[in-house]
């Protein structure tokens, strides 16, 4: 008997197989180049401007701020999940509790907003 989790496994295998099949099919039907691909052909962009300088460089701290705020709300999602699963049986009290929970976290969002953590300078 298949459990619910083997459904996930089947989905996973499908999602792996689908792009592989698409790329394999494209490889099978595309015209093969007769000569070796030269540097021009292997450029990441066929048109547009080449990048100047190294593409591996330090990034702004703003990215990290987004990541940190994302982390907190990601953990919030974990608390939301069991509540959402049982929502219809839990009733009004749990709903108010969850509103309080989200409200407390919204203070964090408001603070991040106020401090300009979500702005791009």
């Amino acid at each position: 008997m298949l459990s619910d989790y083997s459904t996930i496994g089947i989905f996973l295998m499908l999602t792996l197989a689908f792009p592989l099949a698409a790329m394999g099919m494209a490889w099978a039907v595309r015209p093969k180049p007769k000569c070796k691909p030269d540097d021009e052909k292997l450029l990441p962009y066929e048109c547009g401007v080449d990048t100047i300088g190294r593409t591996w460089s330090r990034f702004k701290v703003n990215y990290f701020l987004y990541a940190l705020v994302f982390l907190a709300f990601d953990v919030e999602t974990i608390f939301l999940f069991p509540w959402a699963v049982k929502f219809s049986q839990l009733g009004l009290f749990a709903f108010v509790e969850m509103l309080l929970f989200i409200g407390i976290l919204l203070i964090g969002l408001w603070y991040a907003w106020k401090e300009g953590a979500l702005e791009w300078h």
């Binding site: 459990s3 619910d4 989790y5 996930i8 496994g9 591996w56 460089s57 330090r58 990034f59 701290v61 990215y63 990290f64 701020l65 990541a67 940190l68 705020v69 994302f70 982390l71 907190a72 990601d74 953990v75 919030e76 999602t77 974990i78 608390f79 999940f81 069991p82 509540w83 699963v85 049982k86 049986q89 839990l90 009290f93 749990a94 509790e97 969850m98 309080l100 929970f101 989200i102 407390i104 976290l105 203070i107 964090g108 969002l109 603070y111 991040a112 401090e115 300009g116 953590a117 300078h121």
Partner: protein, 168 residues
């Protein structure tokens, strides 16, 4: 060997291979991506053990948030040739290997010498639902304190990154 064993062997192989990749890749970004794969493999093992909620937490927190943090931290400090950013040290890699071997042997000995009691009860049908009932019923204070903790974490992270009282 039945299907369940086969699935376990495949997921365990993927997890361990990805973990070896974290150490082995020369480019630290490739190491980080390999770590994500390893986290996902651990999540798959949780799902296989019928610990669905734990697997979900593993995917959301480790494969999602922690790996994002690691990659962003790499982006912040990346100042080297990327292909040389995760080079193994000439001498210390042997010490590292030795310590890893000792940890493996120690843990293996500890696991091997432990008597694991077999639970006679059956698996709960709906572990997430039971968790929800407890979390929003008996342990509601802890639940709301978790929200406060997350709030403090957000505020602390912003203050750390931007500096308190600086408005630019």
């Amino acid at each position: 060997m039945n299907l369940s064993d086969l699935v376990f062997i495949v997921t365990a192989l993927i997890t361990v291979t990805a973990a070896v990749g974290v150490v082995g890749f020369k480019n630290i970004v490739h190491s980080a991506l390999s770590l994500v794969l390893s986290f996902l493999g651990v999540a798959a093992l949780y799902f296989q053990l019928q610990a669905g909620f734990l697997g979900l937490v593993q995917i959301l927190v480790y494969a999602g948030a922690v790996s994002v943090l690691i990659i962003f931290a790499i982006m912040l400090v990346m100042d080297k040739d990327p292909d040389e950013s995760n080079r193994s040290h000439a001498k210390q890699k042997y010490w590292g290997g030795l310590i890893a071997l000792l940890v493996t042997l120690g843990l293996g000995a500890a696991i091997g010498s432990t008597i694991w009691p077999q639970s006679s009860g059956s698996l709960p049908e709906d572990s997430v639902g039971a968790l929800a009932t407890l979390l929003l019923g008996d342990y509601v204070v802890a639940f709301e304190v978790a929200a406060l903790l997350l709030l403090v974490a957000v505020v602390g992270a912003i203050i750390l990154a931007k500096g308190a009282g600086e408005h630019d």
